[in-house]
C-alpha cells in the first residue's frame, strides 16, 4: 500500500521487555521466529505466535472459547450475506465426571485429548473444532447442506465411540458423546448467542433421549415426504423441459 502519511516513529524492539512473552512461547512449544532478533519481521512473528497461543486451548491445541465465539460471529455474518447453509454442532462427553472420579484427572485429560483428535480427523479441514468448556466441544461447519447435517453429526459420534483410549498401561477406556446441532438462519441477521442456544437445546434433547446420539433441530423440509416432493416437481419439471428449445 502506498504510504501517504509521514513515517511513524519506528519502535526499537530491543528496548521492549519481551522476556516473559518469549518464555511463554518457549514453554508452549511454539517455534521462535527465525528472523533476525528485534527486527520488525521478528517482532511481527512473535506477536503472531502469541495470538495463536492465546486463541488455542492448551490441553488439546483446539481453538478455545474466545476464538470460537469470534469465528461464530463471522460465520453468522457470512451466512446472512451469502445464504449458504452452515451447521453448528455442540457436543459433550457423556458421563465425563465419572471418568475423572474413577480414573483420575490424568485419565480425564487423556480422554479429552483423544476425543478432540478424533473429532478433528473426522471433519473437513475447513470446519472449526473448538473446546468450549471442560468436556464440551463445538464444531462450526460452513457450507454444510441441510440434508447431510445429521450424517455428519453421526459420523463424529461414531468416530468417538470407536476409540480405544489408553489411560494407563494396558488400560483401555471407551467413551461416547452426545451432539446437538442447528443450522444458521440463512439470509437474515441473527446472533451467535441465539445460534448457540438453538444447538444447545438439541444437545439437551440428545442427553434427555439417552445420550450417545445426535439431535438436530428439525428442518422445515422434513415435513415433506419424498412422495410429496415427487408430485410437487413432476409436472413442473415436465413444463420446464417443454419450454426449453
Amino acid at each position: 500500500m502506498e504510504q501517504r502519511l509521514p513515517a511513524t516513529p519506528q519502535i526499537d524492539a530491543s528496548a521492549l521487555d519481551l522476556e516473559q512473552a518469549l518464555q511463554l512461547l518457549q514453554q508452549a512449544g511454539a517455534l521462535l521466529p527465525d528472523e533476525a532478533p528485534h527486527s520488525v519481521a521478528w517482532l511481527q512473528a512473535v506477536l503472531n505466535a502469541l495470538c495463536d497461543l492465546s486463541s488455542r486451548d492448551a490441553l488439546t491445541g483446539l481453538v478455545n472459547r474466545r476464538s470460537f465465539e469470534m469465528a461464530l460471529a463471522r460465520e453468522v455474518d457470512r451466512v446472512a450475506r451469502a445464504g449458504e447453509a452452515a451447521l453448528l454442532l455442540m457436543l459433550d462427553i457423556d458421563h465425563f465426571k465419572a471418568v475423572n472420579d474413577t480414573h483420575g484427572h490424568g485419565a480425564g485429560d487423556q480422554v479429552i485429548r483423544c476425543v478432540s483428535q478424533a473429532i478433528e480427523q473426522t471433519v473437513r479441514p475447513m470446519d472449526l473444532v473448538a473446546r468450549v468448556g471442560g468436556e464440551e466441544f463445538a464444531i462450526i461447519l460452513p457450507n454444510c447442506a441441510t440434508h447431510v447435517g445429521l450424517a455428519v453429526a453421526e459420523r463424529v459420534r461414531e468416530s468417538v465411540s470407536e476409540l480405544d483410549i489408553e489411560i494407563g498401561p494396558g488400560q483401555l477406556l471407551n467413551v461416547t458423546i452426545s451432539l446437538g446441532g442447528a443450522f444458521a438462519p440463512q439470509w437474515v441477521r441473527s446472533s451467535p448467542l441465539l445460534w448457540m442456544e438453538r444447538a444447545d437445546r438439541q444437545l439437551y434433547r440428545a442427553k434427555a433421549e439417552g445420550r450417545n446420539r445426535a439431535c438436530l433441530e428439525p428442518q422445515i423440509d422434513s415435513l415433506v415426504s419424498a412422495e410429496e416432493k415427487g408430485m410437487l416437481f413432476a409436472s413442473l419439471n415436465l413444463e420446464t423441459q417443454q419450454d426449453s428449445p
Binding site: 445464504g83 448467542l193 422445515i220
Partner: protein, 270 residues
C-alpha cells in the same frame, strides 16, 4: 384479555381476531431470502397509494430485515415499546412510500423465543394499532418456528411468498401444509416472486394446490384453497432497488414488478 390464545397450543388454536379496525395480513415464507420483506414493503406502499392507512409491523422478531430493506435507522423500535422505554406513538415511524412502520430493532433477539411474555406483548401491540389503521401487515420470519406461526396466527389473512426455486417451493409447501393443518386455515394466498416467465405463478400455484389436496386431505365441502395473489417477475429495477435499498414502487414505479405489486394491492382491496 379474552383474545389471549391458550399458551399451551398457539399453533392449533389460533385466535380468531374480531374485525375491529385494520385488516391484518401476515406475509410469510417457507424459506428465507425469497423477497418477503421486499414484497411487504412495496405492497404497503401500493396500498398507501390507494389511500389506505398502512402499518408494517416487523414481526420477524430477532431477525428483522425491514430497516435494512427500507434503509431506515430507527432510534426507537418495538423493543423499546416492549421494555416500556417508548410509547407506541413514538415508535411508529413514517417510511418512504407513505406508510408507517414499527421496526423490531436488533435488541429483539431476546424475543425470538416464544415465551408467554412475548406472546402477550405482540398480541397487545396488534390490538393497540388495529383501530388506527386500515391495514396492518405483519412481516414475519421464514419457516415454521413457533414465533413465526404465532405471528401468522394473529393475522386474518396470510400471503406466502415463494420463488420458483425447488427448495423455496418445498419449504412453501411445508408452511402452507402447517397452516392448513395446525391453524386450520381454509384459504392462503400465494405470491410467486422472481418468476422466470409469465404464467409460472399460475402453474406453481396449481401444482401446490394439487399436492395439498392429495396429502392434506380435506374433508368434502371443506376444501382448502390456495389462491394466486401475485406473480412478480424479476427485472432490472427490482435488482437496482434492492441493491440501493430503495423502495421499488417509489423509485421505479413504471417497472413490470411494480405493476405486479399494484395488481396485488388491487386484488387485496377487492
Amino acid at each position: 384479555m379474552s383474545t389471549t390464545p391458550d399458551p399451551a397450543a398457539p399453533a392449533t388454536s389460533p385466535p380468531r381476531p374480531v374485525r375491529t379496525g385494520a385488516r391484518t395480513l401476515a406475509v410469510t415464507s417457507g424459506k428465507g431470502g425469497v423477497g418477503k420483506t421486499f414484497v411487504t414493503a412495496n405492497l404497503a406502499a401500493a396500498l398507501a397509494a390507494r389511500g389506505q392507512k398502512v402499518l408494517v409491523l416487523d414481526a420477524d422478531l430477532g431477525l428483522a430485515n425491514l430497516d435494512v430493506v427500507l434503509n431506515l435507522h430507527p432510534k426507537l423500535t418495538l423493543h423499546d415499546v416492549f421494555t416500556e422505554k417508548a410509547t407506541l406513538e413514538q415508535a411508529i415511524l413514517p417510511a418512504p412510500g407513505g406508510f408507517s412502520v414499527l421496526l423490531a430493532g436488533s435488541g429483539m433477539v431476546e424475543y425470538s423465543r416464544l415465551t408467554p411474555e412475548v406472546r402477550d406483548k405482540l398480541l397487545h401491540i396488534i390490538d393497540l394499532v388495529k383501530p388506527r389503521f386500515d391495514w396492518v401487515l405483519l412481516d414475519t420470519g421464514a419457516g415454521i418456528s413457533d414465533v413465526v406461526l404465532y405471528a401468522i396466527s394473529l393475522a386474518q389473512d396470510v400471503l406466502v411468498v415463494a420463488t420458483p426455486e425447488p427448495t423455496s417451493l418445498t419449504d412453501a409447501y411445508a408452511t402452507i401444509k402447517v397452516l392448513a393443518t395446525q391453524q386450520e386455515r381454509r384459504h392462503v394466498g400465494l405470491v410467486v416472486n422472481q418468476a422466470n416467465r409469465v404464467g409460472e405463478g399460475k402453474l406453481i400455484c396449481g401444482q401446490l394446490q394439487q399436492v395439498l389436496q392429495r396429502f392434506v386431505g380435506p374433508a368434502p365441502g371443506q376444501g382448502f384453497r390456495l389462491e394466486l395473489f401475485g406473480e412478480i417477475r424479476s427485472d432490472q429495477a427490482v435488482r437496482q432497488a434492492v441493491l440501493k435499498r430503495q423502495l421499488m414502487l417509489e423509485h421505479y414505479p413504471g417497472c413490470e414488478a411494480a405493476q405486479a405489486i399494484k395488481a396485488l394491492a388491487s386484488k387485496l382491496l377487492g
